[in-house]
């Protein structure tokens, strides 16, 4: 069964550095999402992406964040200048439009 994959599984970075989290959605899916979960807190929506543009974003998704689908298969989340509070598990998801989202295993981002 097709799955959403994410790389890396764990990323450690220093405060102020740029990070790119990568996701490969399921191939025939049209909608793409990023969520994050800070340890001990709820899974929070960051952004949704459809037809090569952002369709919705949360207040968390400020100018430090950007998303891209560079080559028709990958979907990336870039954080330009990481802060300590960006440490979290980041989940990518995709859907074909049926309202059922398929999630990847997550990337644990640790900012030191």
């Amino acid at each position: 069964e097709p799955e959403v994959t994410q790389t890396p599984s764990h990323q450690v970075t220093q405060m102020g550095q740029e990070v790119i989290l990568r996701c490969v959605p399921i191939s025939n899916h049209l909608y793409f999402y990023w969520y994050r979960q800070i340890l001990g807190q709820k899974v929070e929506f960051l952004v949704s992406f459809y037809n090569n543009e952002i369709s919705e974003k949360s207040e968390i998704f400020d100018d430090q964040f950007s998303v891209e689908r560079p080559d028709g298969s990958n979907f990336t989340l870039k954080i330009r200048s990481t802060k300590l509070e960006d440490s979290a598990m980041y989940f990518c998801a995709s859907s074909v439009g049926s309202r059922v989202q398929y999630f990847g295993p997550g990337t644990r981002l640790t900012v030191t």
């Binding site: 929506f45 949704s48 999630f103």
Partner: protein, 115 residues
């Protein structure tokens, strides 16, 4: 803003028994969807069951069923004949209707299944 509350941080059940996980939500919308997702240890979240708000009939998927009380804004998950493989974190989630596909999650309930 919509909120989802799971009041049970942890639950446990004996193998083969039945357990119910609670979820309440707050919304002023009439068109919405509710979901239960399961996240086994170190694995991705997978959909367990979903409910459309306009449907009065409670959704069922094999051993999993929901008790959807729209007026009370309650959406509990019942797991019958619990199996060891049911041990996981369970998240309740809400999605507004229309073209908005954003999920709002509860904090999750960690279910332990005892042999």
């Amino acid at each position: 803003a919509q909120t989802v509350t799971q009041s049970q941080p942890e639950m446990s059940v004996q193998e083969a028994e039945t357990v119910t996980l609670s979820c309440t939500y707050d919304t002023s919308e009439s068109d919405y969807y509710l979901f239960w997702y399961k996240q086994p240890p170190s694995r991705q979240m997978i959909l367990v069951i979903r409910q459309e708000a306009y449907k009065q009939q409670n959704a069922t998927e094999n051993r999993f069923s929901v008790n959807f009380q729209k007026a009370a804004k309650s959406f509990s998950l019942k797991i019958s004949d619990s199996q060891l493989g049911d041990a996981a974190m369970y998240f309740c989630a809400y999605m507004r209707g229309g073209s908005n596909y954003k999920l709002t999650f509860g904090k999750g309930t960690l279910l332990t299944v005892n042999p």
